[in-house]
């Protein structure tokens, strides 16, 4: 049986990949995908720990996380659409009318 720590390492790796994506990619959609990656890292954890602790809480929670992720994407895509309409671009570094 594979120890739970490997799952944690895997999830952390996925989380960090997502994080790097957030920090380096300028396309709003990629940003969103990277965040999804981070959420999935959390899901890995939850499932692994649910198995480890022997209760279903984590699995159910993962279900909720997925639903939330979907809702978030829905709202996010809507915002990205109006972003494109206003700025003619989906680059997140373009809108800088407000700063300081």
């Amino acid at each position: 049986m594979i120890g739970v720590e490997y799952y944690v390492l895997l999830s952390m790796a996925v989380f960090c990949i997502g994080l790097v994506g957030v920090l380096t990619r300028r396309n709003a959609l990629t940003f969103l995908m990277s965040v999804e990656l981070m959420l999935n890292a959390a899901n890995i954890n939850l499932i692994a720990f649910a198995f480890y602790h022997g209760n279903l809480t984590g699995q159910v929670f993962a279900l909720f996380t997925m639903a939330l992720a979907a809702a978030e994407v829905a709202v996010g895509l809507g915002i990205i659409l109006v972003l494109y309409r206003n700025f003619r671009d989906v680059d997140v570094t373009v809108p800088t009318t407000m700063r300081w």
Binding site: V60, L63, M66, A67, A70, A71, V73, A74, L81
Partner: protein, 136 residues
């Protein structure tokens, strides 16, 4: 630890096989450049326009709707799993079993109705249709 060596070896082999095949193919094949080879394949039709077409915004709308409602159905599964046991159990009344899910579905229905009435599922009109509408 030995298990891990085996896994590592397997991974290595798994990586080498496709790479080797690509290498062999590269060495053996004749090179005959031809434009139709580079063209986009569209089920045998002659391609029109570039690959980077802009999709109609309605694609996103439908995709969003699909995404949201699709994911919501995932919540039905745990309920469905527990349903039979719950119905047979004496401790829980039928209302307590069905009520929450009916409420959940009702809320979803309100959402769907809203999206529908606000034109989210209505396919966008082409310019020609708009013209036709205004002519009438």
């Amino acid at each position: 630890m030995n298990d891990w060596i085996a896994i590592g070896a397997l991974a290595l082999v798994g990586l080498l096989i496709p790479l080797g095949m690509m290498l062999v193919s590269y060495l053996l094949r004749p090179t005959v450049p031809e434009t139709s080879k580079r063209a986009t394949y569209e089920s045998g039709e002659i391609p029109t326009g570039g690959t980077r077409v802009r999709f109609n915004i309605q694609y996103y709308m439908v995709a969003l709707l699909f995404l949201v409602f699709d994911i919501e159905t995932a919540f039905l599964f745990p309920w469905a799993v527990a349903y039979l046991d719950a119905v047979e159990s004496d401790a829980i009344s039928l209302l307590e079993v069905l009520g929450p899910m009916l409420l959940f579905v009702a809320i979803l229905l309100i959402g769907l109705a809203w999206a529908w009435r606000n034109g989210a599922v209505q396919w966008a009109q082409t310019p020609r249709q708009v013209e036709a509408d205004s002519d009438r």
